[in-house]
Each structure stands twice: as C-alpha cells, then as structure tokens.
Symmetry: C2
Subunit: 206 residues, 2 copies
DNA sequence: GGCAACCGGAATGCCTCATTCCGCTTGGAG
DNA sequence: CTCCAAGCGGAATGAGGCATTCCGGTTGCC
C-alpha cells in the first residue's frame, strides 16, 4: 500500500485504489501469484494505466496485497482463538475459516512460497511472525492438553494449511472442490490418539 | 512411444531414444508437466532436433512418458500388494514407494490433472483404470477388515497421493522436502479409530 | 472556469518456448 | 572400403503472453 504521507488522493482515485486492492486480492486467490496485471485491472473495472499510477510495479501491488492479507489472517486468527473454548476447537475453526470460499489461505501460501520481494516487506514479516506465534501457542497448548500429537510442530500445520488451500489450478480437482474435507482429514491426523504402531518419518520443520 | 512397426532404428538412434525417454521422465518429475522441451534435450545430452525426429510434438513426448509412467505404477503397485501381509501395510508400502526420490507419483498427477491429449491415449487410460482398480481393492479390503475408516474413498487416496507428490515447485518447501512425512501423517488420518466427534465434511470423490 | 490529477487502453518491448531447417556426421549394407 | 540414407546438433523462426509506458481525453475540486 502506498505510504499516505504524500498528497491526499482525489476522491475518485481513492475509490479506485480500494477497488484495485480488493480485485487484486480476489484475483490472486483465484489465479495464484502470477496472475496477469490486466486481470486485476479488468476485475477492478479500471484500466491498467490506473493500476500502474498507484503501484509502480507488479511487485509493489503483490506486496500490498500480501501485507493486507497476512494482517487479516492475524486478526481472524486472534479473534478465533479468543472466542474458542480450547485450542482444539480453535484449530478447527481456524481451518474452517481458511477453507471458506473466497478466503483461501493465500496468506499461508505467501508466507511460505519464495517471493523474495514480498517476504522482505517489514510489515509483512512482522504480521507473518505474529501469526506464526499465534499458531505456535495453539499447537503447544493443544499438545500440553493432550489433544494434539506430540510429534508434529507448528511448521507441519502451516505446511498442511498451505498445501490444501493454495489456488485451485495446482490442486487435484477433488481437493480444490472441497478443501474443508481434506483440511479436516488433516486435523484428524494431527489429533492425539493411542500410541501409533510406527513413528512418523522425518522431523517437524521449524 | 512410437510404434515399432516402422523401419527399425539405427543403433545410435535407439540409444538416443532411450536417453530421451529417461530424461523426459526425470525432467517432468522435477519440473512438472510444462517443462520446456529443451530441458529434456539437454538432460538427454541431445539436440532438440533429435528429440523432434522421434516425437513430432510436445504432446507426443508427454504421452509416451505418461504411458510408461502409469504402466510402471501399476507394476509396482501390483508387486507391493502381492507381497504385503494385509492391505494396510500394502498401503504404507505404496505410499513409501510413491514418496521415494526420483519416483514421484507423477503418474497420479497425470491421472488427475487435465491433460486431455494424454488422458485420451488408450494405453494410458487402460493402465490408469487398472491402477484405480488395484487401489480400490486395497481400500475396500482395508475397510472390510476395519483398518481403514469407512467414510473415505479411493478418490480421497488418489487425491492425497497426488497432492503430496506433485513436483516440488508447487509445494511448500517442507512438504517437498519430506513428502513421506506428510503422506504418513495423512495415512494416520485414514486409519480406522474410535468414532470421531465430528464427521468429515463433504463426500468422498468417486 | 481552469488546471492538475486522473483515466482507459492501445502500443511497445521483452522473453519464453515449440517447432523447423539445414549443413554436417556416421552406422552399416553391399 | 564406399556410399548414402538415416541421424545429429543447435541456430533461427514465429507466435503468444505479459509488464510497463504513453498520451489524448476527463473530471474532481479550488
């Protein structure tokens, strides 16, 4: 998002800026990180020129979207955690939120995929860190309470959320069609149960 | 693979054909279905011209790779099933095989992603059907024996195999690094357990 | 009313491939 | 050993897709 210490925008320009941000978010959720700029412009009902007046490059736009997106994610996650009775149900609600249509867990994708330019944005990094911390609390709590198996880590959760909610083109039809189904399957996998016959291979990522 | 009823290939040509098929398989596993032809050529230590003398179009090459790949998959799956003591351990071994490096479950991806030209190849379709039938037997058996939960279907298994073994570029680093870890995690989710608090949302894909 | 800030979108330039072409090599039949 | 069709490598061609630029025409707002 452009810094607002410059001259204030004209009313119509501000309106357009909002349309652009919103369109960009939708387009990125639907078409992935490399969606063409023109798609964003068309979706916003605006010419590409307008878009470029506000964001000098594609990276700038993606950065703005990313920052807004992770910020949202943090807010939603915090709200869910505050309202839930225990960490397990918080987890379930979080999963549902991520799977809800138009929501996507794109932020999770952004948080993991290598978009150097975006990762470097301070605001993005800060929010991302905050989010990871929230998740970490959730997982740790759940494990202490014996609701989540001990051999997985927050990184596993992030990885799985990312996988099942990235944009549809990259997923098998079934998964793209009902992300919630697979996310809940994943939750079942994370739940603590009787000792398992064979340990999980590999190590939980940091 | 070109029909062999034509004039027999010169010795060096046959050698090159093999190098090409092998390279193509590797490249597709590593870079996905839209890897550039030149990558294949370079990997095979051959000029693009050579590659095009054998396969008239990109589709032809992909088709050949796909056919060979699914055929392999069927063979391996059958071998695993025949050698396993029960369907659950067969499933586990199958997962390990798919996750083994350089193996990829690309065939599974091919089986699901919409590559019309490839899906239409009779040999491919036949093998794919055969494979699905094998998996179906596995799942049904496992369910009858009470080892696999009843509310999932073969399609779920295929979807999961596909997701976790598609080429690395599309997966979060952690998942790409240890596909076996996540496949086994999901396997745990497929296992039959005490009745679950909440039913799985959605329906098992056919 | 006047003009700086805005707009839309055609035009430009770059890049990434698939596919083709052609002059040079080389198995292997006779 | 000769010869030439079958092979070969890889530069060149052409199409398509996309970010970004430019500019003649609008429009908030003082």
């Amino acid at each position: 998002m452009p810094t607002d210490d410059a001259a204030p925008l004209r009313a119509d320009a501000r309106r357009n800026l909002e349309k652009i941000m919103s369109a960009a978010r939708d387009v990125v959720v639907e078409h992935g990180l490399d969606a063409p700029m023109e798609l964003v412009a068309r979706r916003a009902g605006v010419g590409v020129g307008t878009l470029y007046r506000r964001f000098p490059t594609r990276e700038a736009l993606l950065g703005a979207v990313a920052e807004a997106y992770v910020a949202d994610l943090v807010t939603a996650t915090r709200r869910i955690i505050d309202g839930a009775v225990d960490s397990w149900s918080a987890l379930r609600e979080l999963v549902d939120w991520c799977a809800s249509p138009g929501q996507g867990a794109l932020a999770a994708a952004l948080a993991d995929l290598p978009v150097a330019q975006v990762q470097a944005l301070p605001a993005f990094a800060r929010s991302r860190h905050e989010w990871l911390e929230l998740l970490d609390g959730l997982v740790t709590d759940g494990q202490r309470a014996g609701m989540i198996r001990a051999d997985i880590g927050t990184g596993d959760l992030v990885a799985l959320l990312t996988v099942f909610t990235c944009h549809p083109d990259q997923l098998p039809r079934h998964v793209a069609d009902q992300p919630a189904r697979y996310l809940h399957l994943m939750l079942d996998a994370l739940a603590a149960t009787a000792p398992r016959a064979t340990p999980l291979p590999g190590t939980p990522p940091s």
